[in-house]
Amino acid sequence: MNGKELLKIEDLEIRYETDDGIVYALNGVSLHVNEGETLGLVGETGAGKTTLAKGILRLIQTPPGKIVNGKVYFEGKNVLAMSDHDLHQVRGNAISMVFQDPMTSLNPVMTVGEQIEEVIAVHNNSLSKEEIRERAIAMLKRVGISADRIDEYPHQFSGGMKQRVIIAIALACNPKLLLADEPTTALDVTIQAQVLDMINKLKTEMNTAMILISHDLGVVAQTCDRVAIIYAGRIVETGNLRDIYKNPKHPYTVGLLDSIPSLTRDTKRLKPIKGLMPDPTNLPSGCPFAPRCNYASSACSEAVPELTDRGNGHLVRCIKDISGKEGQ
């Protein structure tokens, strides 16, 4: 819908090699993000959402993590094959990341001002100290924090304010892509909406594309242009927001949407998805969702289904042809 392709991930595979076995965290993820658009990445805890976001910036701790395979093209250049020097130019400048827990994501012994100035300074060698500070103050104001708090330390801020500081750091260099890893999960519900609105406003103003990681389908519905559903390290369904919400094709997506409480439907009980996600050290050979799936047949456990196009860029990884309506 919006602009040309900015990020293209091809067949990304990431594993964690631990003493208890190999964790197959990402098993061939491909997706793309266009300029200025927001992609929602939805999945349960442990589905590989954070691994994917960290993988894009090569922030996976090695060991135990290891990028086994795949390519991450950002503006045509493969991030995974870049030199460290080039990678440092991309991080925080062209692609930046907001982490899940604001309480632990800021350095406790540096003032928030120093932490914002630092990212500006490292990517703008020509600026003087005063100019850097001015920019940091401007950024702080943009996220709704008054300038006189610039010399305070993180412990003097509340969780929501800390997350605003982290967003200020992430957006300080006007990035083309923002990776937001559950930016509101750790916050109070009342603050969540504020912070989310602010991210949305700023990214629209700056024409920044965003991958919004969330397990909250409500948040995704409010913010995203496209949605990718991830399960056990694979994208199981992706498409436009409307296609996914109105016409879900994968039984897992159907299940996720059914498990949202609704005031308009007359349901007494929520419909949770039965069972748990498979152990990522020991994935089943076929479709990883098959053991929990209402539509599963013997064919499902033979091989992992391919992503197939159901029209209009709506890709589904399922051998059945179900529609959301039948599932209910």
Binding site: H88, Q89, S105, N107, V109, M110, E118, V122, H123, I166
Partner: protein, 325 residues
């Protein structure tokens, strides 16, 4: 902050009282009559009895203790039984020698300990890390005086590079005479500093804000220096402070091995001759030194970590700690 420091200084009073009482009590329990020791083998029982009376040794323990404390409060730490020279003068005379050795020893510990600890943590489980861990285990377990003897055998007696005994006067001779005792003292401390630096750095390396720093596009060197090391510093400063406090009190074994004219040797000599005022005076001095170093360490904390600083300024005399979530 000032309130905190004042509070800490006041807290030293009971500590000093406790230490003096304990030492007073223990020395009193040890066999041997100070009067007999002062007068020597030839003394008559009458002379000994008379001296005991003069020194007030016949009074009950508690009275003698109170008398000592009152004198102490007047700045009088008594005279040595052995040579009659004032205790304070002797301690202050030896202290600079010990201080020089302590500073040199701690420098050796820092110069070796901190870089090796940082590199060990950054390259955890590498050959370098494993080697430094084995060596530092060796350093911690090896008795100081034994290392001192070995160093002295090789570098002083066999190779003749450095003097084996005493303290040189003049800058260059002083430095030369410092080398062996400083290395002897420093290696043990260095081993502790390496282990503390490594474990503290490893804890910080896994923190979320390190990921934030990486996501900013910072260079690993900058991350290590600016983000990791400063956060890892508190336990390191604690360890270094404890080591330094101990060294300032005089390293008895090392000073004895190298005949270094410091507090440690003064204390050993006084103990051997049951010179009670001398022992009391030097123990008291060590305690004061140790307390001051600890206080200094706690003040340094506030400059490293702003959270501790705000805690200090909140904690006055009453505990009115307001925890803001």
């Amino acid at each position: 902050m000032w309130k905190y420091i004042l509070k800490r200084l006041l807290m030293m009073i009971p500590v000093l009282l406790g230490v003096t009482f304990l030492v007073f009590f223990i020395l009193n329990m040890t066999p041997g009559d100070p009067a007999a020791i002062i007068l020597g083998d030839q003394a008559t029982p009458e002379a000994i009895a008379q001296l005991r009376e003069e020194l007030g040794l016949n009074d009950p323990l508690l009275i003698r203790y109170v008398r000592y404390i009152i004198d102490m409060l007047h700045g009088d730490f008594g005279e040595s039984y052995k040579n009659g020279i004032s205790v304070a003068a002797q301690v202050l005379d030896k202290f600079p020698n010990t201080a020089v050795l302590a500073v040199a020893g701690i420098l050796v510990a820092l110069v070796i300990g901190i870089p090796v600890g940082i590199i060990s943590a950054r390259k955890q489980y590498s050959a370098l890390d494993n080697t430094s861990m084995v060596l530092s285990l060796l350093g911690v377990s090896m008795p100081n005086f034994w290392l001192g003897l070995l160093l002295s055998l090789l570098f002083a007696l066999k190779l003749g590079w450095f003097p084996s005994q005493g303290m040189g006067s003049g800058f260059v001779p002083l430095l030369r005479s410092l080398v062996l005792p400083a290395i002897t003292l420093g290696t043990g401390s260095a081993a502790t500093v390496v282990r503390m630096t490594r474990s503290s750095m490893l804890e910080v390396i896994r923190q979320d804000y390190i990921s934030t720093a990486r996501a900013k596009g910072l260079d690993e060197k900058v991350i290590t220096k600016r983000h990791m090391f400063r956060n890892a510093l508190i336990p390191i400063v604690t360890a270094v402070g404890l080591q330094f406090g101990t060294l300032l009190g005089g390293a008895m074994l090392t000073e004895t091995v190298f005949s270094w004219p410091g507090l440690g040797r003064l204390m050993v000599d006084s103990l051997n001759s049951k010179d009670i005022p001398m022992v009391l005076g030097s123990v008291l001095f060590m305690t004061i030194m140790f307390s001051f170093v600890n206080l200094a360490v706690d003040i340094v904390y506030a400059f490293i970590d702003p959270r501790i600083k705000s805690l200090y300024s909140k904690a006055g005399f009453k505990k009115r700690r307001v925890v803001v979530a």
